[in-house]
């Protein structure tokens, strides 16, 4: 279990260093971005041990990193970032997780709270009916034959070509919603079978749709570039991933890599970290399949975006142009990517694993959309369903310290079983309603698991990211309506 007596070295108020001596076998030290209070919580669980375990990965460079929302995951901690050398390092499917390209997108609108409040119940009902959600939900899109292959290769572009959304949505999606070198031949028939009926569904767990109002703008100039212009402006978040297709790809390749560990003479403290050299046939096959699942997830969020726009226009009696509903940005927070970063002053090709971590590239980076070239890449950090969420931007310091990464959410403090023991779904629902938040949820016990009390306060999390300089707070939003899968 957790080993609270092992020393972490405090670097400053927001950074702790985990020396290699923390656990025998670590190839590099760890760095944890957190504050005194959250660190106390971390000591109670196994997240720190997981930071140490990730440092065992062959070819890992610099540090095993933990973002401020770090909490106990499986294999990698959630909030874990690790970069490995492409030339002689490994790729670990466990460093991406089962929900490949779980991510968030944010739409802005020209609408104000005053216009939407009176219709919020109808709007939430319409969204709930338009966007299939819940355990095992199936979608309304009928993919024929090998069409799923096209979805896995083209991602968001497939959706736009089929009438789901606007061509300009692609400009503000990470990777334009279409990772190159995705090879459907690397995806099992089981994964296709799971993915085919589930395209265009939210799923369950912590996935959600949220209607929110802007309630604080910290950086008006930067916010203005994103189209975040005024307090009370209505926003919409979509949080979901690659559904059964991604889960099956992860499952298939973790199994394959467990078997390959002997062949590559790799030994790790947790089988969930199973990995293969990036350049090996297993590593290349995983990355090609992972990209398929990532593209599927982008197509998924893109289809949902289309239905969200329909619901807004229908309920509020506005045209899409009047309503706005432009995509500010779409980020993935479970992914492995081949990127160039400076290590000890030298440019290197790395495989950056982000497990519950968001890319946070600075202004001027070639991968940041032209629209945001001067402000940096938008970073979307949803909080729990009862509290606030944040919009940030990436920074140069993130490039220098964290391979251009930051946190992804609030991070849990309470287990799902404990949350259900202490809270019941009905009470959580009523408490949200009393705070002016309209909720529709597929399952009441599921709602209790996701209650605010089960999460860290996202404000403390983003403050650490901001003060440590790995991203910059731009605006804050507050929910008025939530759909939980």
């Amino acid at each position: 279990m957790a080993q609270p007596n092992k020393p972490l070295e405090k670097i400053d108020d927001y950074r702790w260093r985990m020396p290699k001596s923390y656990k025998t076998g670590m190839r590099v030290p760890g760095i944890i971005y957190t504050d005194e209070d959250m660190l106390k919580q971390l000591m109670k669980e196994q997240a720190l041990e997981q930071v140490a375990n990730v440092a065992f990965l062959p070819g890992i460079v610099d540090y095993s990193l933990a973002m401020p929302d770090i909490h106990w995951g499986y294999g990698f901690p959630i909030g874990g970032v690790a970069a490995t050398r492409v030339d002689d390092g490994v790729v670990s499917p466990g460093g991406v997780g089962f929900d490949i390209n779980c991510g968030v997108r944010l739409l802005r609108t020209n609408l104000t709270g005053e216009e939407v409040y009176p219709r919020i119940k109808e709007l939430i009902d319409s969204l709930y009916n338009n966007v299939p959600s819940g355990v095992g939900s199936k979608g309304n899109i009928r993919l024929r034959g090998a069409e799923i292959n096209e979805v896995m290769v083209k991602g968001s572009r497939w959706a736009v070509e089929h009438g789901y959304g606007r061509p300009e949505d692609l400009d503000t999606t990470e990777e334009r919603g279409e990772m190159p070198r995705a090879d459907p031949a690397r995806v099992s028939s089981r994964a296709r079978e799971r993915g085919t009926p589930q395209l265009g569904t939210l799923g369950s767990g912590n996935h959600f749709l949220e209607v929110a109002l802007v309630d604080h703008i910290y950086e008006p100039d930067i916010a203005g570039v994103m189209g975040i212009n005024q307090i009370g402006q209505v926003m919409l978040y979509i949080h979901c991933g690659s559904r059964g297709l991604g889960h099956q790809v992860a499952d298939d390749y973790i199994k394959e890599m467990v078997r390959a560990m002997t062949k590559y003479d790799i030994s790790l403290p947790d089988r969930q970290l199973a990995c293969s050299p990036v350049k090996s046939p297993e590593g290349q096959a995983y990355l090609a399949a992972m990209r398929c699942a990532a593209n599927y997830a982008w197509a998924n969020r893109q289809c949902i975006t289309h239905w969200v726009r329909q619901s807004f226009c229908q309920i509020l009696g506005k045209s899409e142009k009047e309503a706005g509903l432009e995509l500010i940005y779409d980020v993935t927070h479970n992914i492995a990517k081949i990127e160039e970063h400076k290590v000890h002053g030298k440019q290197q090709r790395l495989c950056v694993h982000r497990k519950g971590a968001t890319r946070a590239f600075p202004a001027g980076h070639p991968d940041v959309p032209a629209k945001y070239a001067k402000i940096g890449q938008p970073v979307l950090i949803p909080g729990d369903m009862g509290r606030v969420s944040y919009v940030l931007v990436g920074t140069e310091q993130a490039m220098e310290e964290t391979f251009g990464s930051t946190c992804h959410g609030a991070g849990r403090v309470q287990s799902r079983t404990a949350a259900k023991k202490h809270l019941n779904g009905r009470a959580v629902l009523e408490s949200l309603q009393s705070r002016g938040i309209t909720v529709r949820a597929g399952s009441l016990p599921g709602l209790a698991e996701e209650a605010s009390e089960a999460y860290k306060d996202v404000t403390s999390v983003v403050e650490v990211a901001h003060r440590a300089g790995i991203s910059k707070i731009v605006a804050r939003t507050r929910p008025i309506g939530v759909i939980k899968g």
Partner: protein, 138 residues
């Protein structure tokens, strides 16, 4: 009184369980029962569907991982809620099972929590105590 079939274990982000049995095969069956108890309320589930599984892996840990993930796959594609598992052949690395349950019917069944996968994190198979442990990704 019969011994508890499984017990949930606390995990911050996800849910885990320890399953027991008079034999290791029974512990595997109880882990599967525990999995479906997380997914749905099983009291109202009837035994109208059966599916057979035959699995072969390199070691007991890989077998447990494959067993639970195969059931998650079956639920995902067929929406069958399983509630009883007869493991007929079992040698630690191979198993043959008949699984009984019913197709999900929203008018009679209550789904609770979606389970994405069984993970290898903290996964344990104890052949002496006939006990297994697994953490699920929720």
């Amino acid at each position: 009184m019969t011994r508890k079939r499984f017990q949930l274990i606390e995990h911050t982000a996800d849910v885990g369980l320890v399953a027991y049995g008079e034999t290791l095969a029974k512990a595997f069956a109880n882990a599967a029962y525990g999995l479906f108890s997380i997914i749905a309320e099983l009291k109202t589930v009837k035994e109208t569907e059966t599916r057979q599984l035959e699995l072969s892996e390199e070691d007991p840990e890989a077998l447990l991982f494959e067993w639970l993930n195969s059931l998650i796959y079956l639920f995902d594609v067929e929406m069958i809620l399983f509630k009883r598992f007869e493991i007929t052949d079992f040698d630690g690395c191979r198993l043959r099972a008949v699984c009984y349950g019913e197709k999900y019917d929203p008018s009679r069944h209550q789904l609770k929590t979606g389970v994405k996968a069984a993970t290898y994190h903290m996964l344990k198979v104890d052949g002496e105590k006939n006990q297994v442990q697994v953490i699920f990704d929720i």
